[in-house]
């Protein structure tokens, strides 16, 4: 122990010296240093596992082309075991010990909300590729100077609800003459604003909300829930599920619940979902920002295919965003000419990047969802995909749709009678 302390002091002196040198001769001193990006994610969850993999892929591509002004990108990964406490420890370690310049983290809103104050305290740029809660951007909006280090690299729950409603208008109300819906969502931070969004926008597009069911993410038996939904005779079930997915889908099929499911179903975005459910997923409609074979931008398909070649499966939704975020951070470092956090934040705010899920720009200081992704035509609108014969097929919007809606035989359309 005694020998460590003086060494630490020596190191901090060297670091201090290096910082001082760096201040005066920044470009010369920085040229060799890598740009370090910490990736804190859920290695055991399918959605989370793609996050470090995709980040690594982006870094290798950038490095193969010479890096950013000669500086290589280095990805440092941490498994957070889906736990907020583990994530906080990883974040502290990433910043204090491993000296990362920015952090990409998690698809779970609770985790990102736990890390947000740490991004502020340690003044480190943080961006999430997959969490959705509105609270993330609300904190940035309400206390900009403190929380400006956090960026929301995925759609907010409010935008997700809007995306589902926009698609439901075309596909269900205009396409299938549907008139009523029941909202079914899991009880979690991200679904609170989602459900508020649904309740606002569904009646506007012409779907009457007959019931609103929130259930615990620990639920294993969904029979009572489907029973209650069926009793109110809706045309469609609008979903808000992420922690659960396989179980309700399989039980929906086994019990032959005659009502289609449409909405957010994060697990359905994974290409393994068909296998996990033994193809009970056929007919499930889900919102996504990307999908295999869907050319949202010219970058989408090559990324997904290269990813599959490298890792054996298609990336989860958070894989696409994580890949884009490494490029966006690299781009911001280049424009800022520095890895200084405040300069990096300023550069990130001016991001105008065509990624794999659309054109990425962030809402500004005065907007409601500060540092959230801008939603809308020409930017990011999202897609609706459907599981058909064990494959994910895009069905909305028209420009990228590859097929009509197809449902298993047990689905009955009540309005069509």
């Amino acid at each position: 122990m005694t020998s460590i302390k003086p060494r630490r002091t020596a190191w901090s002196l060297i670091l201090l010296g290096a910082t001082a040198l760096g201040l005066s001769l920044s470009s010369a001193a920085n040229a060799a240093d890598p740009i370090k990006i910490g990736v804190i994610a859920e290695a055991q969850a399918i959605a989370g596992a793609s996050i470090p993999q995709a980040a690594q892929m982006a870094a290798e591509e950038i490095n193969a082309k010479g890096g950013v002004d000669g500086r290589k990108i280095e990805i440092v990964t941490y498994d957070n075991h889906s736990s907020s406490a583990d994530s906080v420890r990883a974040f502290q370690r990433a910043v204090n010990e491993d000296k990362v310049n920015a952090v990409i983290t998690s698809y779970i809103s609770e985790v990102v909300l736990a890390l947000e104050p740490w991004a502020s305290r340690l003044k480190t740029l943080m961006i999430t590729p997959g969490a959705a809660s509105n609270e993330i951007t609300k904190a940035v909006h309400d206390n900009y100077e403190k929380n400006k280090y956090t960026f929301h690299g995925y759609l907010t729950s409010a935008a997700l609800a809007q995306s589902v409603c926009d698609a439901a208008k075309d596909l269900l109300v205009d396409g299938k003459k549907m008139k009523s819906a029941v909202i079914m969502s899991e009880d979690a931070a991200w679904t609170k604003p989602l459900d508020i969004g649904y309740q606002e926008c569904l009646p506007k597009i012409g779907l009457k909300v007959l019931d609103h069911i929130r259930f615990s993410p620990d639920t294993t038996d969904f029979t009572p829930i489907f029973n209650k939904i069926e009793a109110s005779k809706p045309d469609v079930i609008i979903t808000g599920i992420s922690h659960v997915g396989v179980q309700p889908t399989v039980q929906w099929k086994n019990q032959q619940v005659p009502i289609p499911m449409f909405g957010i179903s994060s697990q359905a975005t994974n290409s393994t979902f068909g296998k996990d459910t033994n193809n009970a997923a056929d007919g499930v409609l889900y919102q996504g920002v990307s999908g295999p074979g869907v050319a949202v931008t010219p970058k989408s398909v090559p990324f997904a295919e290269n990813f599959k070649k490298k890792f054996g499966n298609y990336p989860s939704y958070a894989g696409y965003t994580s890949y884009d975020e490494v490029y966006m951070i690299a781009d911001a470092v280049k424009r800022a000419g520095s890895t200084d956090s405040d300069k990096l934040v300023a550069a990130m705010e001016k991001t105008d990047w065509e990624g794999t899920i659309g054109k990425v720009q962030f809402y500004g200081k005065e907007d409601k969802f500060t540092h959230g992704l801008k939603y809308g035509k020409g930017l990011i609108t999202g897609l609706i995909l459907q599981w058909q014969n064990g494959q994910q097929v895009s069905v909305w919007p028209k420009e990228v749709a590859k097929s009509e809606l197809k449902f298993p035989s047990f689905i009955k359309f009540s309005s069509a009678k």
Binding site: D218, V246, N270, T272
Partner: protein, 291 residues
């Protein structure tokens, strides 16, 4: 209509609980071991059955058999690597062995759980149902596989009863649960009796796990709740009493189903846990407990 729905749904889940808890209580009755890796063994069986069918393309029957076989193997492994060394140790005082076994099986369960999450992710898996389709019982749409599940559970429990009460092996097991020393004096190797019991346990837990995987689906997160539910059913029924566990399984199964339908699925497990607390106050030995 709703009453019938609760009756059907509750029966299937209760029968599954009963099957899971029977093996658990059998082990305790015979060898005094509370095996807290129970949930992990059930989940391992279901995940193995899933993997056999979706990764190795076996049909649903063979997949289910693989699941049960894995559970039986895992059960033996639990006995030989975790339980037996503690029971035989000279360094651990006899009166502390139960606590050691309890802790060791709990940790063993966590190890299995983490291994499953590492190799198969923590996403839920479902086992291919053996019978597809639905049947209508007085207008209630019921998956045929649910009826199959209930039937298999009842059949296996009946077989277990025959095995314990009508065969020589069963009688030795029964005798061992009453007086282990007496069985040894009669010339039976107690270790062999334990091996038989652990195999029976593994098969029961395996069948329960595979059926649960078909009926509701399982993930590595299910390990804790499954152990907890088996534990509370066994305590409610009376530790070591097989018939007590059967009754308790149906009480808990129906109480949960009733709550889920009549109050809210979110409060499903609360009344059963309250009941457990009440029983602990007025009848600490459980419904049919001996001790």
């Amino acid at each position: 209509m709703l009453a019938l729905q609760i009756l059907i749904d509750g029966f299937a889940i209760s029968a599954l609980y009963a099957l899971g808890a029977t093996g658990f209580t059998l082990i305790f009755g015979v060898s005094g071991v509370l095996n807290l890796s129970h949930g992990a063994i059930m989940v391992a069986a279901a995940v193995a059955a899933w993997a056999a069918a979706s990764v190795f393309q076996l049909d649903s029957y063979s997949g289910a058999l693989v699941g049960v076989a894995i559970a039986a193997l895992l059960s033996l492994l639990t006995y030989f690597t975790v339980v037996q060394p503690i029971q035989r140790s000279n360094k651990i005082p006899n009166e502390e062995k139960e606590i050691f076994v309890l802790t060791a099986t709990l940790l063993w369960g966590i190890m299995i759980q983490e291994a499953i999450a590492y190799f198969f992710t923590n996403n839920a898996k479902t086992v291919l149902p053996i019978i597809e389709g639905v049947v209508r019982i007085a207008g209630i749409r019921t998956p045929a596989n649910t009826l199959f599940t209930a039937a298999v559970c009842c059949l296996v429990i009946a077989l277990l009863w025959v095995l314990v009460n009508r065969t020589r092996t069963g009688k030795v097991v029964l005798a061992a649960s009453m007086n282990p020393r007496g069985v040894t004096i009669l010339g039976f190797e107690l270790t062999n009796v334990y091996i038989v019991v652990w195999i029976i346990y593994g098969v029961l837990a395996g069948i329960a796990g595979v059926l649960l995987g078909m009926f509701l689906g399982v993930s590595s997160y299910s390990v804790g709740p499954l152990t907890a539910s088996a534990f509370s059913i066994v305590v409610l029924g009376g530790l070591g009493s097989v018939s007590g566990s059967l009754i308790a399984a149906f009480v808990v199964g129906y109480l949960e189903t009733f709550t889920a339908y009549m109050i809210s699925p979110a409060y499903r497990s609360i009344p059963a846990l309250l009941l457990l607390v009440i029983v602990m106050y007025i009848r600490p030995q459980g419904l049919l407990g001996r001790r």
